[in-house]
Structure formats: structure tokens, C-alpha cells
């Protein structure tokens, strides 16, 4: 099943593939145009952004239709690429290109669609912000870059767009840069993902060096195709890994940074400092999913060398990291009080689920959860934005309450999203996608622990979401301010997303596993006997029970009697110490602060001392030497050269003065001299002739 991806035939590129590059290019171009517009032209900026993304959505739908038709015709996955050489060195080429296959097609549609809805939502949410233009410029740039990541067939193009995505994330988190917390959060996000990106880049370079090509698929010569993978498997790296395994781990390090997996998750909660549409689009639906998408893209590499139903080292690591992250983040989410922070930790937890799904079940399992999660998480964030907007910028859930009556549309859509996230049985897409992961975990050959971890995570998810909903929407209002429903431009996208949060479930049920078939490239038919796979009904029942337990527990603790805002939380009273750990995020940030950051500051101080004392001292010494030399030169010049010259001239003048006395102007003096000279000469003459 997983091997099918690497061995699917490659068709000649059609016209849609040739113009595939327009999908990311148009939003980037729109971003450039918005940047150059003179302020303020809000309508133009919004129109440009929404228009460009609509165009991209249109093209994405056409591309999706094209892949769909070729899939339904051939009942196998066809992949089309369009590659070209960008730079040519002596014998190596740097190639760029884009690929159109089911994986990129579904991702394109999801990103464009959710992005468009959020763009529309933002026109309402950011209507009162004075930096409207800048917001849409960055948002458009982000959309273009994300779409570029999706279609990239070249590791280099993917990395370039990856970096632009990271940049726009930084720009948008720190959108309100006057707030010091926002600026710090942006910096933290950038630096933390940077750590992952370093390993990613090393992996890219290693892959390029080993396989000689940057392209994923190139009619058999690409790095994700069998010949290259075979070569990678032969080469041993360190610690008993093959080259394939080592490169896979390094690429996973980059994905872990971007997708907030366990050691590098610290930036995601702080990224909630950005505006809510940003949180919805970037930190829920798309950018953080880029890491998962990357692993899906290089899945052949990760999976290379696995025995028939076994796993490779890279995939095992991915699974363990994903499962740990899922549980870890869910625990922290239980004890948070900021509405967006709960959702942020929920995102981290769900990303863990996706990674675990990829590791244990393959591309289709992980990607299905990614797609469904994008819809309902975006829905939840946008709903949270609506709640914040309606409660006059209040974000602490302990100060909200009873919004069910004040904001009914928001409540309804939020509830749908929350149930989808919890995985409420049967009706909601989240149930089917999460079940897919749990099923893969159940059948994982390496260990069973991830299965139990993921089940526990599901319980926690249901629990904390119930807690949040109970605090916000039920009971009576805990503040005096009256909340109001948001405008239609904000609630209509919510409704659309809610629809999809339910409807997407259909394509993932075991009776009609359309999504899996589409990605894996074989035909599918509606067959209720899919439900009769051994252990499947048992699993569905187990997960339903777990979810209902979580919901019931949450309702019993928080829903029956609305807690007062000043009182400590029920659980806090019950188990204060674990509660404090969970609330304080297990002190990971503090750990980093004490180790990495402290080391960094120490190193900065050392470097400063070096610079100031040693290099600065050297420079000062050289400067001092030069000054001394200059001084000596001046002394030399003034006193010796000048002095000697002056002395010489003085002597000359004196001599001249002395000699000029000969010219006394008196005739008799001249006569005397003449006579003297004659005497001397004659004397000489006589004396010399005497001999």
C-alpha cells in the first residue's frame, strides 16, 4: 500500500501541470502589488488578496479535477511533473519543478479553500486595524509560499518556499510589533523553527550529495524513486543507520520544528500573540501542517528498506515523537485558561496524532487527519476570534460565560468544530480520521504503547474541550459587559467550515475509503462489508466510549455548576501539584531558558569579552602603534628633516652673508684683492719655475 506511491507510473505532463506554477505565483504577485500600494486602499488590498487566492483555488480545483479524472480512468495514481534546470554547474544541475499527484492536489484544494475563507473572515476581523494593508500583503505572501511548498517537486524549491513560509509566520506573529510579547513570540517562533531547519538543510545537502538530484520525481531519476532509494539504502551512516534513515531523521527534525513536535513545540503557544486569523490559517490549518506534508512527501525515503509490514528507524522515531507530543500537549491544554492557548496546545496534540498516523499507518492515514483537522481547527480558531471580538477583546475563559444565548451562530459552529475535534462518533469527520490512526496504531508491529497513549490523548482532548466550551458558552455571564454576535462576513465562513467538518467524514469511512484509495492509487467502491474487518467494530466502540467518557467527565466537573472566576479550578483543588505542572507547561520553557538560552547568553558574553578585549585590544594596539609611528614620523620630519633643512638654509644664508661682504662696493677693496691675487699667482709662478 505504501510502496504504491513510489512506484506509480509517471505520465507526460499535461497543460495543467505546465501552468501549475501560477497557483503560488499569483498570490505572491498580489502581495508585491499590495506592498507597493500607497496607503490607504483597504478595498483594493483585500480585493487583490482575495481575488488572487480565488484564482489559485480555481486552478487548484481544475488540477484536482484533472487528477481525479485520470485516477478514475486508470484506477491508479498518476503523477505528472514539470521540471527545468535552474543553474548548471560543470556536471551538476540545480533543478526546480512542480508535481501534480493526488497528494499535492488534495493539499492544494485544502490550503486554497481554507485560506480563502480565512481571507474573507479577516476583512471583517481586521476592519478596525490600521495596518490592514500590511496584514493582507503578508497573508497573501504566506498563501503563495504555502502553495509553493505543496507543489514543489524539487527539494530546493520546497526549502525556499518553506523558508518564506517561516518568514511570513514571523512577520504575522509579530504583526502588532509594538507589543513586546508579540515581538518576543515572533523571534521565538523563528529561532525555534530555525533549529529544525538547520537539520533539514543538512538532510537536503546530504540527499543531494548522495543521489545527485534535487528532484523528487524525474521519470525514474528522482530522489524518491527506486534507483536513488536503493543507493541510499546501501550506504551506511552512523549509529547503525543507513543513509536513508539518517537523512529521513534529519528531514523529520525540520518537520518537527515547523509542526511543533515535542522538543521544538515551545513556539506555538506563544504564536497566539498574532491576530486570530493568523492563528487560524497558519498555526492551525496550513503552516504547521507543512511539516506533516513534508514527511508525506518524502515518505518513500522514510519508508525505504522496511520489510513487508515492518517499520524503519525513521518512521519509528516519527511515531514515538508524535505519540508523546499528543499526550504531552493534551495534558498541558487541560490546565490553560486562555482560549487561544487551549486551542494552540490542542493543535500541537493533533499534530502529534498526524505524525503518529504517518509513522504507523502511512501517507493516507496521516493526510486524512491533516485535512479534517485543517477544517475544524480553522473553524475553532475563527470561532474563538468571533468570541473574542464579541466579548470586547477578552481572552480569558474564566471571564466569559453564557455566550450561548448571546452568540448563537458562533456557538453552533463552535460546537460542531469541538465535537469534530473530540471525535464524536459517526457524525463528525474527526471521528473517522482519528479512528484511522488508532486502527493503524493497533496493528503496529513495533510496540503497542503508542496505541494506549493515543487513546489516553483522545480522552484528554474530549475533556479539555468540554471544559473550554462549558466555561465560555454555558452558565451565566461572569462579566458585566454584554457580548454581541459577529457580523455576517465572519459567521458565514464559520458555517461553511462547519459543513465540511461534518461532510468530510464521508470520504474516510471504512465502507467507502475514498481518500485512501485516491492517494494510494487503486479503485474504490462503496462496500458496507468494510465494517466487518476484524477488530474494527471493537475499535470504533472503544474510541466512542472514550470520547463519551471524556465529554461526561468534563460536563460533570464544569458544566453542571458554572465555576466562579476567582475560585481555583476544581481539579486544581483536587490534585494541586500535577495541576501546577500542567498549567506551567511542564516547565519546558524554563528548562530551555536555563540551559540553551543561558548557555547562549554566556557564550555571547564570552564573545563580547573576546571581541572587546582581545580583538579590540589588538586593533587598539595596532592603532596605537600607528599613532606612535606617526608621531615619530612627525618628530622626524619636523625636528630632523625640517630642522636640518632649516639649519642648512641658515648656513647657506650665513655663508652668503659672509661672502657678500666681498662685494663691499668700494673700489679699493677690489683693487686690494686683485693685487693680492696677482702676488700669490706670481709667487707661485716664480717658485715653481725656480726648479
Amino acid at each position: 500500500m505504501q510502496d504504491a506511491i513510489s512506484s506509480t507510473p509517471q505520465l507526460a505532463s499535461s497543460s495543467i501541470t505546465q501552468i501549475l506554477w501560477l497557483i503560488p505565483a499569483v498570490p505572491i504577485l498580489a502581495s508585491g502589488v499590495i506592498a507597493l500600494l500607497k496607503q490607504p486602499k483597504r478595498k483594493s488590498a483585500a480585493t487583490l488578496a482575495i481575488g488572487s487566492l480565488s484564482f489559485s483555488l480555481l486552478l487548484s480545483l481544475v488540477a484536482f479535477g484533472h487528477v481525479l479524472s485520470s485516477w478514475s480512468q486508470h484506477a491508479s495514481t498518476a503523477r505528472e511533473t514539470a521540471n527545468f534546470t535552474w543553474i548548471q554547474f560543470a556536471s551538476t544541475n540545480v533543478d526546480l519543478g512542480w508535481v501534480l499527484d493526488p497528494l499535492s492536489a488534495v493539499m492544494l484544494v485544502m490550503v486554497a479553500f481554507v485560506g480563502l475563507l480565512i481571507f474573507i473572515y479577516s476583512t471583517g476581523y481586521m476592519a478596525h486595524d490600521e495596518n490592514f494593508m500590511r496584514f493582507f500583503c503578508f497573508l497573501s505572501l504566506f498563501a503563495g509560499a504555502m502553495l509553493g511548498v505543496v507543489i514543489a517537486n524539487s527539494m530546493l524549491l520546497l526549502f525556499m518556499c518553506w523558508e518564506i513560509v517561516g518568514l511570513t509566520s514571523y512577520l504575522l506573529i509579530g504583526f502588532w510589533y509594538q507589543k513586546p510579547s508579540a515581538a518576543a513570540a515572533a523571534k521565538k517562533a523563528f529561532l525555534t523553527t530555525r533549529v529544525g531547519d538547520v537539520f533539514f538543510l543538512l538532510g537536503i545537502v546530504w540527499l543531494f550529495a548522495q543521489t545527485g538530484t534535487l528532484l523528487f520525481y524525474n521519470h525514474g531519476a528522482g530522489s524518491m524513486e527506486s534507483s536513488a532509494l536503493g543507493g541510499l539504502l546501501i550506504h551506511p551512516a552512523a549509529f547503525g543507520l543507513t543513509a536513508a534513515g539518517a537523512i529521513g531523521l534529519m528531514i523529520f527534525a525540520g518537520a518537527a520544528g515547523k509542526s511543533g513536535q515535542l522538543p521544538l513545540h515551545v513556539w506555538l503557544p506563544d504564536a497566539m500573540e498574532g491576530p486570530t486569523p493568523v492563528s487560524a490559517l497558519i498555526h492551525a490549518a496550513t503552516m504547521v501542517a507543512a511539516g506533516v506534508y513534508l514527511i508525506a512527501r518524502v515518505y518513500p525515503l522514510m519508508h525505504a528498506g522496511a520489510l513487508l509490514s515492518g517499520s524503519t528507524t525513521s518512521l519509528t522515531v516519527v511515531t514515538w515523537v508524535g505519540a508523546s507530543t499528543a499526550v504531552f500537549a493534551a495534558l498541558i491544554a487541560v490546565a490553560q485558561n486562555d482560549i487561544k492557548r487551549i486551542l494552540a496546545y490542542s493543535t500541537i496534540s493533533q499534530l502529534g496524532y498526524m505524525m503518529a498516523g504517518l509513522g504507523m499507518g502511512g501517507v493516507a492515514v496521516g493526510m486524512f487527519h491533516l485535512i479534517t483537522h485543517a477544517f475544524f481547527k480553522a473553524l475553532l480558531f475563527m470561532g474563538a476570534g468571533s468570541v473574542i471580538h464579541g466579548s470586547h477583546e477578552e481572552q480569558d475563559i474564566r471571564r466569559m460565560g453564557g455566550l450561548r444565548t448571546a452568540m448563537p451562530a458562533t456557538f453552533l459552529t463552535y460546537a460542531i468544530g469541538m465535537l469534530a475535534l473530540c471525535g464524536f462518533p459517526l457524525l463528525f469527520s474527526g471521528f473517522w480520521s482519528k479512528d484511522g490512526i488508532l486502527e493503524a496504531a493497533q496493528h503496529w508491529s513495533v510496540a503497542r504503547a503508542p496505541f494506549y497513549m493515543l487513546v489516553f490523548g483522545a480522552l484528554l482532548t474530549a475533556f479539555y474541550m468540554t471544559r473550554q466550551v462549558a466555561y465560555i458558552f454555558f452558565g451565566h455571564s461572569r462579566t458585566e459587559k454584554h457580548a454581541h454576535e459577529s457580523s455576517r462576513v465572519m459567521t458565514v465562513p464559520l458555517a461553511i467550515l462547519a459543513f465540511f467538518a461534518i461532510a468530510l467524514g464521508i470520504i474516510g469511512t471504512p465502507a467507502w475509503p475514498w481518500f485512501r484509495a485516491f492517494l494510494d492509487g487503486h479503485s474504490v467502491s462503496f462496500d458496507l462489508s468494510g465494517f466487518s474487518e476484524p477488530g474494527l467494530m471493537m475499535l470504533m466502540a472503544t474510541s466512542s466510549v472514550v470520547v463519551l467518557c471524556g465529554l461526561a467527565l468534563g460536563w460533570w466537573l464544569y458544566g453542571r455548576a458554572a465555576p466562579a472566576p476567582e475560585q481555583p479550578d476544581v481539579l486544581e483543588r483536587a490534585v494541586p501539584i500535577p495541576w501546577s505542572w500542567m498549567r506551567d507547561r511542564f516547565y519546558i520553557d524554563e528548562l530551555y531558558g536555563a540551559t540553551v538560552i543561558a548557555f547562549y547568553y554566556w557564550w555571547a558574553r564570552v564573545a563580547d569579552w573576546l571581541d572587546r578585549r582581545i580583538w579590540g585590544g589588538a586593533v587598539t594596539l595596532v592603532a596605537w602603534a600607528f599613532r606612535q609611528w606617526a608621531r615619530f614620523n612627525r618628530f622626524f620630519d619636523t625636528d630632523w628633516v625640517d630642522g636640518s633643512f632649516d639649519k642648512g638654509c641658515e648656513e647657506l644664508a650665513t655663508g652668503g652673508g659672509l661672502l657678500s661682504r666681498v662685494q663691499s662696493g668700494r673700489v679699493q677693496t677690489y683693487l686690494r684683492l686683485l693685487a693680492l691675487a696677482v702676488v700669490v699667482l706670481v709667487g707661485l709662478l716664480i717658485w715653481s719655475s725656480r726648479a
Binding site: Q668, R672, V679
Partner: protein
């Protein structure tokens, strides 16, 4: 050497000394005349009659008078305030003495090569001198003529009153 020689020589030398040493400039000029006369007598003793008379004619008759005129025209008869001798006059004396010693030494040293015995006195007639002037020495004669003309004109011009105003 005969006694005449010594007297005449003494006359000449005495006149010269007087010409150089006297305070009154006019007395100097007159002493000069006596010196010229002495030298003319010495010429005559040397059987150079033409030269002797030429000496008397030109030197005593013209140059000495000229000197007197010049003295009179430049108020030379008045005694100057600072004395008649210039500054550093001993130096001049020493140099003159050195010159004399040089010449005397030369003369005395060349005693060997100088002719000893007097040749008989030559007879020199004016005819001979005339012939020599026109014959062998015609060129110097013409040049002397030119020179005298030039000296004449030059002296007139040099001593002429300037015609410009301010004088």
C-alpha cells in the same frame, strides 16, 4: 752705475713717494709731475730720447694738468674730515710691499739669465720711428687713433652735465 743714475732715480722715487704720501692733493699732483720728470730723465739716460720727450709732452704736459684740473673741479684741495688714508690702509701697504718683494725677488733671481754687458747705445732717429709707425706698427697706430677719439668723446659724455630736470 753712475752717480747721475742714482740722483735721477732718487728724484723719481722721491716724487712718487711724495705723490702718494702728501696730505694736500694739489701737492700730490705737483709731486707727481716731479716723478714724471724723473722718469723722463731715466728714459733719456736709457737712450730712448723719443720716449723721454714723449713722456714729458704727454704726461707732464697733459696728464698732470688734467689731474690738477680734476682736483680743482672736485674740491679736492679741501682736506677730508677722516684723514687722507682709507680704511684698512695698512692692508694696502702690506700688499704693496708683498708685490715689491715679489718683483724684487724675481729680478734678483734672474740675475743669471739677464744680459750682463751693456750693448752699445743704439742710435734711434725719428725717421726710423716714423718708418716703424707707418710700416710695421701701422695697425696699432690706427687703433690708437680710434682709441683716442673714443676716449675723447667718452670723456666728454661722461663728464657732461645731464640735461634733465632735477639736477
Amino acid at each position: 752705475m753712475s752717480i747721475v743714475f742714482y740722483i735721477v732715480a732718487a728724484l723719481a722715487v722721491g716724487g712718487a713717494l711724495a705723490a702718494v704720501l702728501l696730505k694736500n692733493t694739489v701737492h700730490c699732483a705737483l709731486a707727481l709731475t716731479i716723478a714724471f720728470a724723473g722718469i723722463a730723465l731715466l728714459f733719456l739716460q736709457l737712450d730712448a730720447q723719443f720716449a723721454g720727450f714723449a713722456q714729458i709732452l704727454v704726461y707732464i704736459g697733459a696728464v698732470a694738468i688734467l689731474v690738477v684740473f680734476a682736483i680743482l673741479l672736485t674740491r679736492g684741495s679741501e682736506t677730508p674730515k677722516d684723514g687722507v688714508y682709507g680704511r684698512k690702509w695698512p692692508l694696502g701697504l702690506v700688499i704693496a710691499a708683498a708685490v715689491f718683494s715679489d718683483l724684487a725677488w724675481a729680478v734678483l733671481q734672474s740675475a743669471r739669465v739677464l744680459p750682463h754687458e751693456a750693448i752699445s747705445a743704439p742710435t734711434v732717429t725719428v725717421l726710423q720711428i716714423g718708418n716703424a709707425l707707418i710700416g710695421r706698427y701701422v695697425l696699432p697706430l690706427e687703433i690708437i687713433a680710434l682709441l683716442l677719439t673714443a676716449a675723447l668723446i667718452g670723456a666728454v659724455i661722461v663728464a657732461m652735465h645731464e640735461k634733465e630736470a632735477g639736477k
